[in-house]
Amino acid sequence: MKMEEELLAIIEKNSRIDLKELAIILGVAEIDVVNTLQKLEEDGVVCGYHTMINWEKTSIEKVTALIEVRVTPQRGQGFDSIAERIYKYPEVQSVYLISGGYDLLVTLEGKTLREVSTFVSDKLSTLDTVLSTATHFILRKYKDHGTILNEKTEDEREIVTP
């Protein structure tokens, strides 16, 4: 595996890893790691360092919805401009163009069900190019970003083996 690819795989799982340790486990000089990271950031390959939070374990109420949106693509711009109108809302977490039965998949985070439904009925459905929406509320997250939530990891192995 190329160093860059290996580095990305590591920091995708652990963005807080110490640079010196990163250099050691990749078997390269620390300065190479620093330079590579800087370039990846400048090129927009690395576009943020986020924290994964299991909100269910906090007392903070949050609801996440997946919204299927069917739209009319616009001449000369396809889906881009309608996607932009949607993703500029800060409460919108992600927007994907999807193949199949609908066009855009929008994920939305709100404090309450009402807040999300208000957004859908007032903001999203009323856009000229939106033909229809179907809103799915997430009831429980089992796995997110490759991480299984609420999983106990215990070492099942015998403590010493040949």
């Binding site: 795989a9 590591i10 070492d155």
Partner: protein, 393 residues
């Protein structure tokens, strides 16, 4: 009452690992970090487990043929062909066993007459010597040397050969040292093997876990396939230790006799495991590559940690072990391991559990997360400092 047990068995000393295991278990301390495990920390990749489950659902709950599912034997032969360029016949030259361990046992039994000598380079896995003794053969130990990075040299081999020598055990990539034998190392011993007309049992269970070049099997050298039993399995490469599945490939006349023992003792390897193993060989390459990358990162982490502690340690390129030298502390491996456990709560297996030539060394397994290893190395550094301070007094 008469003595109920066999003198031969009583004469075999229990594994040094077992003794250390008992000490660690007795401590029963949640804070103990173990670096003593000889199996992957990864779980078996899901698609492989899923295939095992699927086979159960489909009612594949019966014996298979003695030598194993033909589909599996074919996949095994494909694998050796694509990795080593050597062709085996899945029908007459391939046997599916209960782990590599069974293949070691029945291979030695199938090859040795009473009094034949089996050359065993050490430090190495714990079962070769007892298996040889139980087969009525005589184990002849070669003490591998750190200055050779624990590789076997032609001189060492030559010196160990007598007119009774029948089999050489070739345990590389090596547990516990992490040593490998590169192609040139194998070429150097090849002539000695052929000149003296001895057979080789090449235990390549760690073949997929090398960190320099790809593993080269001795069977790929001219003239070696016909005098070698190649042993491998699924435990280490695919993290399938609990499935108990291995195999042996070799000359038909040896495999035939091994199959006889296998047939009477075992009948056949577990069926569920065999179906899962087919999936592993067909679609498991990327899983192996991913695990290998992770092991290599940990390996570099440990090499660096020992370098920073100024503890002598050759760079191992295979398996998932590192074998630091602790001679400077003036203790035996066992004393060191026991004090390290008692004072820093880290369990690492004394090198002597793998033969006398492991004296002065410790086997550190890196089948652990970097987080665990980081904490363990912190404790190691603290312990080394304390011992050096004691010595300075």
């Amino acid at each position: 009452m008469r003595n109920p047990v066999s003198d031969a068995i009583v004469g075999i000393k229990p594994s040094g690992i077992r003794k250390f295991f008992d000490i660690v278990t007795e401590m029963n301390d949640k804070d103990v970090i173990s670096l003593g495990v000889g199996e992957p920390d990864f779980e078996t990749p899901w698609h492989i487990r899923d295939m095992g489950i699927y086979s159960l659902e489909k009612g594949k709950t019966h014996y298979t043929g003695n030598t194993g599912l033909i589909e599996l034997r074919k996949e095994i032969c494909n694998y050796i062909k694509r990795t080593q360029g050597v062709s085996y016949d899945p029908v007459s030259e391939t046997l599916v066993t209960v782990g590599g361990s069974e293949a070691i046992d029945i291979g030695i039994r199938a090859m040795c007459n009473p009094g034949d000598e089996v050359i065993i380079p050490q430090p190495s896995y714990v079962s070769y010597e007892p298996c040889a003794i139980l087969a009525g053969a005589k184990p002849v130990i070669i003490d591998l040397k750190e200055e050779n990075e624990f590789r076997l040299t032609a001189e060492e081999l030559k010196a160990a050969i007598t007119d009774k020598t029948k089999v050489l055990i070739l345990p590389f990539p090596n547990n516990p040292t992490g040593a490998i034998m590169e192609k040139s190392d194998l070429e150097a011993i090849r002539d000695v093997i052929i000149e003296n007309d001895i057979y080789v049992m090449s235990d390549e269970i760690y073949a997929e876990l090398t960190y320099k070049d790809k593993h080269v099997s001795i069977v790929s050298l001219p003239g070696m396939k016909e005098r070698t039993i190649l042993i491998n399995g699924f435990s280490k490469a695919y993290a399938m230790t609990g499935w108990r599945l291995g195999y042996a490939c070799g000359p038909a006349e040896i495999i035939k006799q091994m199959t006889k023992i296998h047939q009477f003792c075992i009948m056949c390897a577990p069926t569920t495991s065999q179906y899962a193993a087919v999936e592993a060989l067909k679609n498991g390459d990327s899983d192996v590559a991913e695990m290998r990358t992770a092991y290599n990162q940990r390996r570099r982490f440990l090499i660096n940690a020992f370098r920073e502690m100024n503890i002598k340690c050759f760079e191992p390129f295979g398996a998932f072990y590192i074998f630091p030298c602790i001679k400077e502390f003036g203790m035996t491996s066992e004393e060191f391991a026991q004090r390290f456990l008692a004072e820093e709560k880290v369990a690492a297996v004394p090198g002597t559990a793998f033969g006398n030539s492991g004296e002065g060394f410790l086997r550190i397994s890196y089948a652990y997360s970097i987080e665990k290893l980081r904490e363990a190395m912190k404790r190691f550094a603290r312990f080394a400092e304390k011992l050096r301070a004691e010595q300075a007094k």
